[in-house]
């Protein structure tokens, strides 16, 4: 296998766990190195690319939306897909999406099933499963 490919399974929902930030950093680093990346988002992780997420002001600090510049996971995912130039395949588990009503994902995210995860893993240099605790 000449071209390197990493498959990463994510399960944590957005804004809940430091695992998400670490996973996004791994994906960004791999893409910058020219490595193909497959992501299989399972359970709450299907909400990571949810388009309905909105940045918010911080009434405690008195900052506006612009001043707060609150990062959203949908923005991170969209930017990773853009920088990947087709080398990032992000699959949301379809049943997990249906359960959560999380259909409105950013462009480039596709619907799949655990069978896709198996195919991804079989065709990859390595597979990293990041479970919830």
């Amino acid at each position: 296998m000449n071209e390197k490919t990493l498959t990463i399974a994510l399960m944590d929902p957005p804004y809940e766990s430091a695992n998400t930030a670490t996973a996004l950093r791994i994906i960004a680093s791999a893409l910058k190195k020219g490595i193909r990346v497959n992501v299989f988002a399972y359970e709450g992780a299907v909400c990571l690319p949810l388009k309905d997420q909105a940045p918010h002001a911080n009434p405690v600090k008195g900052t506006s939306v612009e001043e707060e510049d609150h990062p959203t996971t949908k923005k991170f995912v969209a930017e990773l897909l853009e920088m990947s130039e087709g080398r990032l395949d992000w699959v949301n588990c379809g049943l997990c999406v249906d359960e959560r009503g999380a259909h409105n994902a950013v462009e480039g995210v596709r619907r799949g099933s655990p069978a896709d995860f198996l195919k991804m893993a079989l065709g990859s240099t390595n597979t990293l499963v990041i479970p919830t605790k």
Binding site: L6, R25, S29, N126
Partner: protein, 109 residues
């Protein structure tokens, strides 16, 4: 020989489950494998010299390579001079290099 990379996210002072890491990584090393532990998130708290009872010296003595994520260290205000001997700072790029090697098994903990 197989390469193993353990990605340790847990703080040993919060989770006794880090014993799993010591026992598994040490056993794999004893069987002739190359074993690396990459500490990230609260996992880097064990890398402090002041962390009495840290499980990391046992791993280091067993020949396990210990790396600590520079971003996680910086987030927690842990400087290089405060770290245990045997633990080296590394970036996320180093972790990706390990993951992209052939014959490497990755375990997130």
């Amino acid at each position: 020989m197989t390469n193993y990379i353990f990605i340790e996210t847990r703080d040993p002072f919060e989770s006794r489950d880090t014993r799993f890491l010591v026992e598994t990584a040490t056993a794999l090393k004893e069987r002739g494998n190359e074993v690396t532990v990459f500490l990230v998130q609260n996992g880097v708290l064990a890398a402090r010299r002041a962390a009495h009872g840290s499980h990391l010296p046992t791993l280091s003595e067993a020949g396990v390579r210990l790396l600590a994520d520079d971003f996680s260290l910086a987030e927690r205000g842990i400087g290089e001079s405060e770290m245990l001997p045997g633990v080296r700072q590394a970036g996320i790029d180093s972790l990706v290099d390990f993951l992209a090697r052939d014959d490497t098994k990755a375990v997130w903990h």
